[in-house]
Symmetry: D2
Subunit: 340 residues, 4 copies
Amino acid sequence: MAIRVGIIGATGYTALETLLLLLRHPEAEVTVATSRGEAGQPIAAVHPILAGRMSLTVDEYDPAKVAAACDVVMCCLPHGASAETVRQLIEAGVRVIDFSADFRLSSVAEYSRHYGIDHPWPERVGKTVYGLPEWYADQIAAADLVANPGCYPTSAILPLGPLLADGLIRPDDIIIDAKSGVSGAGRTPKLNTLYCEAAESIAAYAVGNHRHQPEIVDLLRRFSGATTDVVFTPHLVPMDRGILSTIYVKPTDPARIDELESVFHVWQQHYGNGHFVRAVQHLPATKHVAHTNHVQMTVRRSGDRWVLIVAIDNLIKGASGAAVQNMNVMFGRDPRLGLS
Amino acid sequence: MAIRVGIIGATGYTALETLLLLLRHPEAEVTVATSRGEAGQPIAAVHPILAGRMSLTVDEYDPAKVAAACDVVMCCLPHGASAETVRQLIEAGVRVIDFSADFRLSSVAEYSRHYGIDHPWPERVGKTVYGLPEWYADQIAAADLVANPGCYPTSAILPLGPLLADGLIRPDDIIIDAKSGVSGAGRTPKLNTLYCEAAESIAAYAVGNHRHQPEIVDLLRRFSGATTDVVFTPHLVPMDRGILSTIYVKPTDPARIDELESVFHVWQQHYGNGHFVRAVQHLPATKHVAHTNHVQMTVRRSGDRWVLIVAIDNLIKGASGAAVQNMNVMFGRDPRLGLS
Amino acid sequence: MAIRVGIIGATGYTALETLLLLLRHPEAEVTVATSRGEAGQPIAAVHPILAGRMSLTVDEYDPAKVAAACDVVMCCLPHGASAETVRQLIEAGVRVIDFSADFRLSSVAEYSRHYGIDHPWPERVGKTVYGLPEWYADQIAAADLVANPGCYPTSAILPLGPLLADGLIRPDDIIIDAKSGVSGAGRTPKLNTLYCEAAESIAAYAVGNHRHQPEIVDLLRRFSGATTDVVFTPHLVPMDRGILSTIYVKPTDPARIDELESVFHVWQQHYGNGHFVRAVQHLPATKHVAHTNHVQMTVRRSGDRWVLIVAIDNLIKGASGAAVQNMNVMFGRDPRLGLS
Amino acid sequence: MAIRVGIIGATGYTALETLLLLLRHPEAEVTVATSRGEAGQPIAAVHPILAGRMSLTVDEYDPAKVAAACDVVMCCLPHGASAETVRQLIEAGVRVIDFSADFRLSSVAEYSRHYGIDHPWPERVGKTVYGLPEWYADQIAAADLVANPGCYPTSAILPLGPLLADGLIRPDDIIIDAKSGVSGAGRTPKLNTLYCEAAESIAAYAVGNHRHQPEIVDLLRRFSGATTDVVFTPHLVPMDRGILSTIYVKPTDPARIDELESVFHVWQQHYGNGHFVRAVQHLPATKHVAHTNHVQMTVRRSGDRWVLIVAIDNLIKGASGAAVQNMNVMFGRDPRLGLS
């Protein structure tokens, strides 16, 4: 029987991408889509790419009705708003995959410090699985609530995690220079994401204070078991989708600087049997993973550094594809279903 | 009297940009443009944007004729080919601004190592002024030959130079993550610069072995007086023009990590009376300098690093604008002429 | 059992798109991919997006070996070259879907006139089904050879065909102003498809003499049964994929100019039960059909004209998706398999 | 003495483009820039590209103060709002170039019908010169108020005007298929001009009811002296700037369909001594006129039609460049000043 899926906050780009992935999923069916602003409209009026392909009408959000109609809910709301909705849905008895950052961090204090608000459901902070099936599949399979990872963190944790876990690189000197397509900034009209502002231009933003920095640090500490810090600089690139992270690290043993194969070896050990993460010899471009759930990563030497280069599609492996992958794991399906 | 300018290798993007700048220059006139492949054609057949605006016919290259018709020649040939042509022109008695890398490095050995060829005119290597008027205006004014700087080096040397000269940052831990528009790769058709390959994608290239890395190191050593190394990673960004360099440095005195104003102070001291280099408070985007000869740069703190962020137009301040600025200096004009 | 598919000419964009579609197809398997220039390489070396997803090695073309390994061959060669290869494959006993224009026209004379060469296999011209399953499904199902439609013709014939067949519009005053993404120009490096030439620019090309014009006319005559002519102007638009055709027609009965519902009615009659062609009320953008096999079309009145506006993805419904749809029909599968 | 220029509504794209052009103008100086929302800020805070290049502070609008500080005012407000402001400025004794549509049409009734409001200053409608210096230079030179032309109308009137005036083409069968960059839609954040909506997509909009249609018709009637109608379809193209209009016309005498030189001849007669309008043999791309005040246009035959193809930069010749050109004419300067 098909997994019945609900989408809360159906108007944004990650919601749309999830809907498109689920259209192709052979064992899932979207039964509910809600949005405050668009209730009553056909989903194709909100997303014209769905014209003739999905006949759903957008609903008002009602936790009891959503829970009754769904086996799992994808909650695509912004942080803060999401936690409260997630709590209602969990209490109504439905499993939830939360796209927001509300349940990703280990500590309520860190959350409040970086998000500037009291957490609406502090009891679940630090007790919710981080939805990275490459590492936490067992917990995800059993979870009622999964914190779907951030897009930048996905691009950083996947390559760095195993290298830290195996002690191959130093945890105290990591620089992540990340470049994202504009869809990461969402679908709400703002000056800096207008075509005429974003096209033909690249800029850094939130230097030294982006909210994904503590998320990356939190996760990397789980791998390294040590105090880890990262310098993280996000950039806005004139493209719709994709993240390329260029990560500068140092081998724990400087004498091994030329042993790039040791990096490949660790990656192979951890991801070799996985479905979506690939160490490659070529320099990956975001185009090489666009519209897929795949990750391509490689390593080069430059001076006394290893340069890790990682490409993902921010909307898919960085959001909606990860959610579908998590859903597949939660419901005992092949993780690849619906994800080519 | 107008400065009579010749353009050698008139078909590429930097040649075109130079022609466009000179069209607006009130005291310069293009008298000759040569190109092997296009000789005999009107310049507007090569560059349709010049239709009705410039009536020049493209010529075969003949050093004597060029020298007779010009006060200065912009040589827009690739490295190797350029040095030999430059020698002929200098020997024919005309001043030259060389767009290639042939006379930028201090050492013939370094040149051969990185460019893989014997230098055609080794006598002038190390004895040619590096065309950065913000630092070497006096030598440029007197020069018969100016080595026009590379685009990436310009974006790195301008912010780093004074900080190294004043000892504010460490010379041994500099990471330059640079992002360039596609025009930097030239106008010769190649797979990776096709629209369908470059658009909607970002990738690193030449990681650890780009030829601008030794050029940057060579120049930075002149400022620091110390053994300096840099990690340099160039990226191809889906935009026509622009370079954004994100540069990770460490203050010499870690206790000063929060004194960002010391960086601004040094920049102000060195560039305060200049024409094109600006320290700004906002995070510069390449769009903020596109189609201009201006440089915008700023600094932020992230962890134990200062992050310098610098934007230039690779075709203008990174090539043709710098050449026109050099020409103005060589001929005693206001450096801003023709450059808005 | 899976349909075994071969790809001849595997390096181009339509070949890649076909490979990507077949990766998702539940009942097809790519068994052979050939390319003269790339034989011996893994397919992922030619198309890095396939890294870890397809393990095929590119082969030299050998008709007997291809025929033995395949149930159907997608021939992605240019016109002229294709016809000869198609003949060999058909004679070797395998069914073929030809992406070139070689078997699309009704007349050898027309072919020679527009393509400037003698047809390599004239016997099959006029005797090969035009691969538009919306109209010719029965013939396609039985065919050994299918002429896969051109991208521009698809965007013109689908909306115009039924209106001409029903006599709703005049066949003698049709203007097609078509706009295509750059991928339509292929993957061979050329000046005009470089990023820096194509980006941030739009231009018309081949005005009055594009080879798709006779193809459109040929097909429209089959629908109208009358002498039909069209004015056809293709444009190159700075986007990877997509065609938008804006088509200016006149109602046969000028008094019906405001009866736009009659157009929708005819479309509904012909495509109402189909899978991919949709009349929509909104103004379709190419983004609304990008990465899908769908067609969106609508009509507006302007002055004494009906303006038909049609959007397709040139690489999918305009090429590879149509081919997969044809394959599904040829092998008795649901036409939607592998096409979301 | 420099012309003192004021800019009303300084935050939009046409205002910025005007500021950039005036920066290069040797005989003009911006003395005032006003904006309701941004008063008190340095102009570079609104437009970071002006950092270090223009030290103006944005003011509140005060007609008396503006009039005292300026010889001419560029009014960059939206229609409706503009007319009232223009009236105040004219009454305060300063000359005005109005970027809005408020004074372009000949008739108040037409204005009300298309703009849906009562005209705030009906006395000047039909009595204000249309700011096309190629045709109305004498009136512009003497005018206190100039109605700066719309961008689409400029691209249509310049090629069509002389052909209609000379009776070479029929006035009753003109189809204008126009394609514009996104900057034409302004700088106010809206969903359809977000990067992720506009990039990699093309769509028609306002089919059959765009407000530039009556403006085009109004002007063309002045040239043809006959009842003229046009079918006009604007499209949004994924580029920052540029308009390409593809115009389908019929020769008055069908027998002359192959006499393309007659079109060139008429254009040459009317524009031959002009500064910015060029008939060219190549197919113009918007890139060929981007960042310039130039117009490139050509003609081809297709079937029984002449296809006119015209490229302008919508922000320059379609707005700010035309305004500067008008200003030059109003103040007796060379029309080319500041416009390369």
